[in-house]
C-alpha cells in the first residue's frame, strides 16, 4: 500500500498556503476524477464542472484533512458526494435509477454501460493525444513498455514490478522514467506545438 508520501508533501504545502502545490494535485488526479464523476453524469462537460467543484471543495476542506486515509481516497469521496448532490438537485429528489430492460426471469439491469458519450467538439484533440501516446508506447523497447504499463495500468509498486520483471528496483525506476521521456518527447509537440494547441482557451 502506498505511503502516500508524495501527495502528503503537496498537501502539506497547500495547507501552509502554497496554492501552486494544489495545481500539481489537480493535474495528477483530474482524469480519474472526471472518469469517476461520469458514472453519475454522462455529459463530459458537465462531469468536468462537477470535478471542478469537487476539487474546490477539497481545497477548502484541506485544513480538516488529517492524513488518516490516503489523499486520493478522501478526494474520491468528496467527488462522489459532489456528483450525487449535483444529480439530486438537478433531477427530482431522491434518485431513482431507470431500468431499461425487462427479462422474464425476473431480472433487470442498470441502464447503460457508460458509453463513450463523445461530443464532437473538443475531443478531436483528445483523439490526437491518445493516438500520439499509443504510438509512442508501441515504439518503446519492450522492457520500457512493460514497466510503464505495469505501473500505470496495473498500479504495481516499483518493488512489485521489480519482482515481476526480475530486476532491481532502481532499474524499474529508470525504465519507467525513460519510457515517460520517450513518450513525452512526442506528447510535448501536441501540447506545446503551435500556440498551445492542446490547451483549449476558456
Amino acid at each position: 500500500m502506498s505511503a502516500d508520501v508524495s501527495d502528503l508533501s503537496l498537501v502539506r504545502r497547500v495547507q501552509r498556503g502554497d496554492k501552486g502545490a494544489f495545481d500539481a494535485l489537480v493535474l495528477k488526479y483530474q482524469h480519474k476524477l472526471v472518469k469517476l464523476v461520469m458514472r453519475y453524469v454522462r455529459n463530459p462537460a458537465e462531469a468536468e464542472d462537477i470535478a471542478q467543484e469537487a476539487f474546490i471543495k477539497a481545497y477548502r476542506a484541506l485544513p480538516q484533512f488529517r492524513g488518516d486515509s490516503a489523499f486520493y481516497t478522501w478526494l474520491y469521496r468528496i467527488a462522489i458526494n459532489t456528483a450525487k448532490n449535483a444529480v439530486v438537485s438537478r433531477d427530482r429528489s431522491p434518485i431513482e435509477y431507470d431500468l431499461d430492460r425487462h427479462h422474464s426471469d425476473e431480472s433487470y439491469d442498470l441502464q447503460g454501460r457508460m458509453k463513450d458519450s463523445e461530443t464532437p467538439e473538443g475531443l478531436v484533440l483528445t483523439d490526437e493525444i491518445r493516438t500520439t501516446v499509443n504510438a509512442a508506447i508501441d515504439a518503446l523497447p519492450e522492457d520500457l513498455r512493460t514497466a510503464i504499463v505495469l505501473r500505470e495500468l496495473e498500479g504495481l509498486s516499483y518493488e512489485e514490478i521489480a519482482a515481476a520483471m526480475d530486476c532491481p528496483v532502481g532499474t524499474v525506476r529508470s525504465r519507467i522514467f525513460r519510457a515517460r521521456e520517450a513518450i513525452d518527447r512526442r506528447l510535448r509537440e501536441v501540447f506545446e506545438g503551435g500556440l498551445g494547441r492542446a490547451e483549449e482557451l476558456g
Binding site: S69, T73, Y76, R77, I80, N81, K84, N85, V88, S93, P94, I95, E96, Y97, D98, L99, H102, D105, E106, S107, Y108, D109, L110
Partner: protein
C-alpha cells in the same frame, strides 16, 4: 375466493361481491395489504436475490449491493457499500462480520445457534391498532407491476412506510420510511435485482483484504446463571410494544456481558442493551443520543447500569423505553438497590 387482487376491474366486481356477500369477503379484502407485507417479508427472508440499490437519507445518496441466499436452511447475506467506504456486512449462518476498512477493523459477532424467531416483528391483527395498513394503488415501477402499500402509524411513537411491492416476486422494489407527519426521511430503490436459483459461496467473501486489521470478536459468557439472575424489563412501554426476546451475550471488543431485550409492536422493533456501567459515569453527561440513518439510539445510566435502546423508531421512543427499564426483584417488590 381470490387471494390476490389483480386488476381494478376485478376489484370493482369484488367490491360489489362484498356488498352482496357481507363480512367474510370484506375481511379478505381488508387483509390483502397485510398479506402483501407478509409475502414481502417471506420473500426477503427465504429467497435468493442479488441487487444494487440506492439508499437516500438526509439528502445524501449511497449505492449498495445486497446478496442474499438461503441454502439448506442456512442464511448467507452480504451487504456492501459501493461508494468509497468499502464497508461490508457479511452474515454466514450464525456468524455476523462487519468489515470496516476505513477503521481497519473487523467486528465478528457469533449469534446463538438457535435464534428465536419469536423476536421478529410479524404483522398481525394487533398491528392494526397502531398502524393503518392500506394498498393505495398499483403502478409500474421500472417496468414492473407493483402494489403500493402504505403503513401509517397512528401515533408519534413509530415511523411509517410506503412500499412498492413487486406483484410477481413480492420483493420491495422501492421503500420509503416516513416520519409520523408523512415526510420521507429514508428511501431505498433497487437499480437492479435478480433472483438467481443458485449463488456461489464466493459471492459472500469480502472484497477488502484484511491484512493488518484488528479483529474484535465476542467473548464467551461467564459460567453460571447470568441472564436468569437479572430480570430487566421496561416498567412502561409505548402502546403496542411487548417484549419478545431476552438474551445475554458478550459483544465484540467488550469485556462485560450484556443483556439484550427486544420489544416490538409487530412492525418496528427496539433493542435494549443493559450492562454494568464501567468506571465512573460523568455526572453531567449520562444521557447520550445518536442516530444511524433513520434509526435512533439512546443511552443512559440507571442504578449503575448502562442502558442503551436502539431501534427503527423516532428518537423520543427509544428514549422513553430506555428510561423505563428497571431490574425486577419481585421478592422485594422494589427496583435493584444502588451499587
Amino acid at each position: 375466493m381470490p387471494r390476490k387482487l389483480r386488476a381494478s376491474g376485478r376489484l370493482c366486481s369484488l367490491a360489489l361481491a362484498v356488498a352482496v356477500s357481507g363480512g367474510a369477503l370484506a375481511d379478505e379484502v381488508a387483509r390483502a395489504p397485510a398479506q402483501w407485507l407478509e409475502r414481502m417479508n417471506q420473500a426477503l427472508n427465504t429467497r435468493n436475490y442479488d441487487g444494487t440499490f440506492s439508499h437516500w437519507h438526509g439528502g445524501q445518496v449511497e449505492m449498495l449491493r445486497i446478496i442474499h441466499r438461503v441454502q439448506d436452511g442456512t442464511v448467507s447475506e452480504r451487504l456492501a457499500s459501493l461508494d468509497g467506504s468499502g464497508r461490508e456486512f457479511i452474515r454466514t449462518g450464525a456468524s455476523l462480520a462487519c468489515y470496516l476498512p476505513d477503521k481497519r477493523t473487523v467486528l465478528v459477532e457469533q449469534r446463538p445457534a438457535q435464534e428465536s424467531l419469536v423476536g421478529f416483528p410479524t404483522v398481525n391483527d394487533q398491528t392494526a391498532n397502531f398502524y393503518d395498513v392500506r394498498e393505495v394503488g398499483r403502478t409500474r415501477l421500472n417496468r414492473r407491476d407493483t402494489h403500493i402499500i402504505t403503513v401509517s402509524p397512528k401515533d408519534e411513537y413509530r415511523y411509517g412506510y410506503r412500499l412498492w411491492i413487486d406483484d410477481t416476486t413480492a420483493m420491495p422494489l422501492k421503500t420509503q420510511l416516513c416520519d409520523p407527519h408523512g415526510r420521507v426521511i429514508e428511501q431505498i430503490v433497487f437499480a437492479n435485482l435478480t433472483l438467481p436459483a443458485r449463488i456461489p459461496d464466493s459471492a459472500f467473501r469480502p472484497e477488502v483484504s484484511t491484512d493488518g486489521f484488528q479483529w474484535l470478536r465476542n467473548g464467551a459468557l461467564p459460567p453460571g446463571p447470568q441472564a436468569a439472575s437479572l430480570a430487566w424489563n421496561a416498567m412502561r412501554l409505548p402502546p403496542g410494544f411487548r417484549m419478545t426476546v431476552r438474551s445475554a451475550q458478550v459483544l465484540p471488543g467488550s469485556a462485560t456481558p450484556v443483556d439484550h431485550l427486544v420489544f416490538t409492536d409487530g412492525f418496528a422493533s427496539v433493542s435494549v442493551f443493559v450492562e454494568v456501567q464501567q468506571g465512573q459515569a460523568q455526572p453531567s453527561a449520562v444521557a447520550q443520543s445518536a442516530a444511524v440513518g433513520s434509526s435512533s439510539a439512546y443511552s443512559t445510566v440507571i442504578d449503575g447500569h448502562k442502558i442503551t435502546a436502539v431501534g427503527e423508531v423516532p428518537p423520543a421512543t427509544v428514549q422513553f423505553i430506555a428510561t423505563q427499564v428497571k431490574a425486577q426483584d419481585p421478592a422485594a417488590g422494589a427496583a435493584a438497590p444502588r451499587r
